[in-house]
Subunit: 311 residues, 2 copies
C-alpha cells in the first residue's frame, strides 16, 4: 500500500488548508512545497530570509504562484515565532518546520503568550505503510517524550488513536509493547501496559481496544500470538504500537524505514494545530507524507479561506 | 541472500559435529532434526521421554537413522542436566534446547560442577539475512543480558565479533547503537558507545572496527550517515549492531523478522560450547538456521568422532 495514496486516495491535498513553514528558505523545503502544490495543496506562508525566498521562487518557477505568501524573518528565532503566531492567530492550520533546529521551533510552540499549548501533552505519531502489510501502522512516541510516565502514555495513546481515526481506523487496536507478554513488576513497560489495558476496559481510555504487554511479534503477527497463546482482539492485529520509551520507538522507526522499506510520515500532536517536523535525513517523499498527514489531521478546516487574499 | 546458504554454501552441515538436544521429545524439534539430517548434519543425542522419542522416530521414519542416539530422561530437569553433561564430558559439541523452558536449561548450563561456564559472560548473537541488504547483520544482545554494564558490553561485542568471523567477516564493523549520534552524559547508551569506540582505538577490543553512538539509520544507511555528516569506516556500513539493552534489541530483532522479512538464526555464546536456544514461536527454518549457526561456530570440531559409535 502506498502511504501517500492511503492519505489522499485522489492524490490531491485539501486546497483550503494553510500551512505556515518556519525556515522555508532552502531548496529541500521548496522541493516538498513544489510537490505539494502539484497535488493541489492549499496555501503556504513561507518564513525566512526574504532575498533567499525570492531567489528560490524563481529557481522553482513559483514566482507567479498565488498559493504562496512570503513573510520575511531575520533569523531562525523570528522565523519560528512568526510562523507560530500565524497559527495562533488562525491565519494558518498547520505548522511545518523547514531547516531550523527543532528546539528553536518548539520553544516558540511552547511560548505561554502566543504559543500553541492546549494543556495537553505534545507527542509524536508516526504513520507507516509497511510492504506486505495490508493496513497502516501507527507508532508512538519516537520523537518527543524520552521516558513517558503512565499519565503521559495515556495522552500518547489518545493522540495516536485520534490520528488513526483520521485514517478511517474507527476502533484502532492498540498494542502496548514490552520485551515480554507477561506482567513483571520489575519491568516498568509491562506495568504501564497492564495499566493502560485495564484503563481501557474501565472506560478511562476510549475509542480503541488496548492490550499489553505484548512483545512486538505477538502484537503484529497473528501466528506468533497464536503460538504464545495470547488470544484477544488486539494481539497479532495491532494498528497502533505504544512503545516503552523514545529510544526503543526510535529503533523500531528506523528499522521500519531502513530494513523493512516502509514509507513513513509523522506529526506532532497535542498542540493547537498539527506540527510537521521532519528530519534532515528524511527523503522528500517522507517530508511530503508528513505534510500530507499534518494537513489530513487538521481538525478545523476553515471554510472561510478559499482565496489567496485570506492567506 | 539466503541465510542458510551463507552459513553452508554447499547446503551440507558438517557431518562430524555432535549436537545434544535437551527436551527433544516433540514434533517441532524432530522436524528440525529431520531437516538437518537431510542436509547431512552430523550426529544427534536426543534427551527426553523414552517412549515418546521412540514413537517420534517411527513417525518421522528415522528408526534406522544411525546418526541419532536416544537417551531417556524422566523430566525436563534431567533432560537438561544430561544434555549439558554430555557437552561437559565432550560427548557433544553443541547444546540445543528443544521444548523445555530456557530457564531450566540455563540453570544446568550454569551449574558449577558439570555446567558449561568458562568464566566468560554468556551472550546472545542473532544472525540476520535481510532482504535487499547485501551482507549479513549480526545483532546483540536480544536474549540474555537485560541491562548490560559497560564491561558486559565489551564481552558482548567480543562474542559477536567472534561469531561474525565464523562467517568470514574478518574485520567486522561494529556500530554501537543509541537514539542519537552525539555523546550525552545523561544517556548511558551514548556514554557506553563512546567508551567502546575508544577502547577499540586503544587496542582494548581487537579484531574489529567500532564506532558509536550511532542512531540505527546512521549505522546501516550510507545515505543517512552522509546527511548527518557522520563519516567513518563503520557508519552506514555496520556488520554488527550492539544494542543499548535487551528491550531495544528485542524490538529490533522482531521488527527484522516480522516487518523486514529477514531470515534469522541465533545462538548463545560464551559457554564451553555454542548453545542453540530457539523460541516456541520460531519457524522451523529459523530453528534450522540457529542449529546451523551453532554447528558453524563450534570452535573445536573434533576429528576423533566420525562414526555413530562415538556419539
Amino acid at each position: 500500500m502506498n502511504l501517500f495514496q492511503s492519505i489522499y486516495p485522489t492524490t490531491d491535498f485539501p486546497n483550503n488548508v494553510v500551512v505556515a513553514v518556519a525556515g522555508a528558505d532552502n531548496k529541500s523545503t521548496f522541493q516538498v512545497i513544489t510537490e505539494a502544490l502539484k497535488r493541489n495543496a492549499g496555501m503556504f506562508r513561507l518564513y525566512g530570509d526574504e532575498q533567499t525566498l525570492n531567489e528560490l521562487l524563481l529557481e522553482f518557477e513559483l514566482e507567479r504562484e498565488k498559493r504562496i505568501r512570503i513573510i520575511p524573518a531575520r533569523n531562525n528565532q523570528e522565523s519560528a515565532r512568526l510562523a507560530v503566531m500565524a497559527v495562533h492567530d488562525q491565519k494558518a492550520d498547520v505548522l511545518m518546520k523547514g531547516m531550523i533546529p527543532t528546539y528553536t521551533l518548539m520553544q516558540e510552540v511552547l511560548n505561554k503568550e502566543y504559543g500553541l499549548r492546549t494543556g495537553e501533552l505534545l507527542s509524536h505519531v508516526g504513520v507507516f505503510s509497511v510492504p506486505n502489510r495490508e493496513k497502516l501502522l501507527f507508532l508512538s512516541d519516537a520523537a518527543v517524550n524520552p521516558t513517558p510516565t503512565i499519565s503521559q502514555k495515556v495522552s500518547i495513546t489518545q493522540h495516536a488513536v485520534k490520528v488513526a481515526q483520521h485514517f478511517q481506523v474507527d476502533l484502532p487496536k492498540v498494542a502496548v509493547i514490552a520485551a515480554i507478554e507477561t506482567v513483571n513488576p520489575d519491568m516498568q513497560a509491562t506495568v504501564d501496559a497492564a495499566m493502560l489495558t485495564q484503563m481501557n476496559r474501565r472506560g478511562q481510555i476510549l475509542d480503541c481496544l488496548i492490550d499489553g504487554p505484548l512483545a512486538l511479534d505477538n502484537a503484529v503477527s497473528a501466528q506468533a500470538a497464536l503460538t504464545k497463546e495470547v488470544d484477544n482482539e488486539v494481539a497479532g492485529r495491532a494498528d497502533i504500537l505504544i512503545m516503552p520509551n523514545l529510544e526503543i520507538a526510535n529503533v523500531l522507526y528506523k528499522s521500519l524505514v531502513h530494513f523493512a522499506g516502509a514509507e513513513v510520515g509523522g506529526i506532532i500532536t497535542g498542540a493547537k494545530a498539527p506540527i510537521v517536523v521532519t528530519s534532515r535525513s528524511d527523503s522528500w517523499e517522507t517530508k511530503l507524507n508528513a505534510l500530507a498527514i499534518g494537513m489530513k489531521t487538521t481538525e478545523t478546516v476553515p471554510s472561510r479561506r478559499n482565496s489567496y487574499e485570506s492567506v
